[in-house]
Amino acid sequence: MREDSPGQELVDEFILKEIETVPHLEALLLIWRSRPRRWSLDEMGRALFLDAKATTPILDDLARRGLIVLAAAEAGRSWEYATEEDRDRLMLQVEVAYRNELIRISRMIHAKAPAAVREFARAFRFKKERD
């Protein structure tokens, strides 16, 4: 019906490579859509319907991948989107894709092997490029 555009491939590749879970993607999209707004842990938690304990690893992971950046450490941490020209263009497509193909993308994310297993394999890579 809809032929695979190179855009979709890139979107899928990005999601498979950088997105651990669906809340990760939703957090990233929230931050992306509202940029350059800064989000605190509590605000993000409320937006994701998660508590602080569950939200922290999500934001830490996104920050470690360079997708968002820790904006302020005083008076509680807050994060904002990390602008990067190529990725910004991709994010537009990711946003559209997620809006139009929610089920397919969620399924794709869930089908990834557990993070622990992937990290085990990654530990043995000598050249530490991301995945």
Partner: protein, 85 residues
């Protein structure tokens, strides 16, 4: 031949332990901790074999060799069961 195998065993164990524990330091994934400790334990077990049979043949470290390997493997299985999702 035995000498080589034990040294190689200790070496492989050490490589795996270092890679896994370093990765654990970076990403804090618990499976890496338990498996890293397992390989560290197996490294020690291998070194003990070497020490037992070749350096100090008059001392019997067999139970220690086995014991460290047992602990190491239990750590690995614990990690695999609880942390591999």
């Amino acid at each position: 031949m035995e000498r080589t195998v034990y040294i190689l065993g200790a070496l492989v164990g050490l490589i795996c332990a270092v890679l896994l524990l370093r990765a654990y330091g970076r990403v804090k994934q618990r499976l890496l901790l338990w498996s890293g400790l397992c390989f560290a334990g197996l490294t020690i077990s291998n070194l003990l074999v070497f020490i037992d049979l070749i350096l100090f043949p008059e001392v019997n470290l067999y139970m220690w060799r086995l014991g460290t390997a047992v602990v190491a493997m239990l750590l690995l299985v614990y990690g695999l069961v609880w942390e591999s999702e």
